[in-house]
């Protein structure tokens, strides 16, 4: 197996959104939003993109205030600890002007509790050309932001992760599997896993083993037969009945 990031539609859309925000024109808002249900690969994509663009990653929590948020961003930027908001934001802006980096805020639902936190983030990306803020949260985050027109106006890039489709499954098979997998088997895998990436990777590792063991050029559905693709496949079928 090759452990590489499959460039699915979700990953491409998110990467494109971050690049557009970083290269936005003057006067445009620099805030983006990434939403989606759990298990759709948001965190893995976030880690990948954060490494690619050298982003600043912070995770919001229920106790966050403006001071706590600025302290967390300062800590991530390697700045000395300070007690007051004003010197902290100045230090952050100073550091970001030297090296503009996107800020990723995970669990951003907590930010919507206070407009001050969003205004402070806006101050940071307004003062630093090339900087942007990406809020990451569950699918409810997008609904909450939509309901509040004041926040929604600032979001210029919306990316909602959806489950993998068959085209993504083909991309995944071509990226991670060292054996060539037939289209019919990929469709079968996609149907059985219901688009779950983790299960697909397990299934593909088994398909690859079969292909290598039998010296098959292409592993298709006929070659695969009715073997199990992943550990609890039969249990899931029983439960559905």
């Amino acid at each position: 197996m090759k452990h590489e990031m499959a460039m699915t539609k979700n990953v491409r859309r998110f990467l494109g959104a971050v690049r557009e925000l970083s290269q936005r024109g003057p006067g445009l808002e620099g805030m983006g939003l990434l939403g989606g249900e759990p298990g759709e690969g948001k965190t893995t994509t976030l880690a990948y993109v954060s490494n690619l663009v050298n982003g600043v990653y912070v995770r919001a929590n229920a106790c966050w205030t403006v001071t706590a948020m600025l302290a967390e961003i300062s800590h991530e930027l390697g700045l000395p600890r300070q007690r007051l908001k004003h010197p902290m934001i100045n230090a952050i802006i100073g550091a970001m002007l030297i090296e503009p980096r996107p800020i990723f805020v995970d669990e951003a639902d907590y930010l919507l509790r206070s407009t001050d936190m969003l205004d402070t983030l806006r101050d940071i990306y307004d003062m630093v050309p090339g900087a942007c803020v990406i809020l990451v949260g569950m699918e409810e985050l997008a609904a909450k932001v939509r309901a509040n027109g004041r926040f929604a106006r600032r979001i210029t890039q919306w990316v909602e992760f959806s489950g993998l489709d068959v085209t993504d499954a083909v991309t995944l098979a071509a990226t991670v599997c060292e054996a060539q997998v037939g289209r019919d088997l990929v469709e079968h895998l996609h149907r059985e896993t219901r688009g779950n990436v983790g299960r697909m990777v397990v299934g593909l590792s088994r398909i690859e083993s079969l292909g290598k063991a039998n010296g098959l050029e292409v592993v298709d559905l006929a070659a695969w037969g009715d073997r199990e693709l992943f550990y609890d496949q039969s249990l899931r079928t029983k439960r559905r009945k």
């Binding site: 452990h3 590489e4 893995t44 995970d106």
Partner: protein, 113 residues
């Protein structure tokens, strides 16, 4: 490589594969070796596997016990126990030695041996 022979680098290179792997560990919190390779873009696993092993020896990572050795598609799962910040620790805070040392002993403990 610059520096004196045996000199300890006190700060990791911010653009190295190890630093990227550390950032991924902090974001993912619980992860496998393929997760780290996928998110860092590394093609070979040796460097990252060694790093995870060293961090585990010095108590920064722990291994989840639901891992089944030898099962197809199953990998050792690590979780982060100590998160000292964005820069990859190079010197262990507990024993004061570089991460490459194979055991982590507090200085007084090491003195008694």
């Amino acid at each position: 490589m610059s520096g004196k022979k045996g000199q300890i680098r006190l700060k990791a290179n911010p653009h190295s594969a190890r630093q990227k792997a550390w950032q991924s560990m902090r974001i993912l919190r619980t992860f496998t070796l393929p997760d780290l390779m996928r998110t860092t873009g590394e093609k070979k696993s040796d460097n990252i596997r060694k790093l995870a092993g060293q961090l585990a020896v010095h108590g920064y990572l722990s291994v989840a016990d639901d891992w089944v050795r030898g099962e197809k598609g199953s990998y050792k799962r690590w979780s982060i126990r100590v998160n000292p910040g964005p820069l990859l620790p190079v010197v262990c805070k507990r024993c004061g030695q570089v991460l490459a040392t194979k055991e982590c002993k507090a200085p007084e403990e090491a003195g008694n041996v």
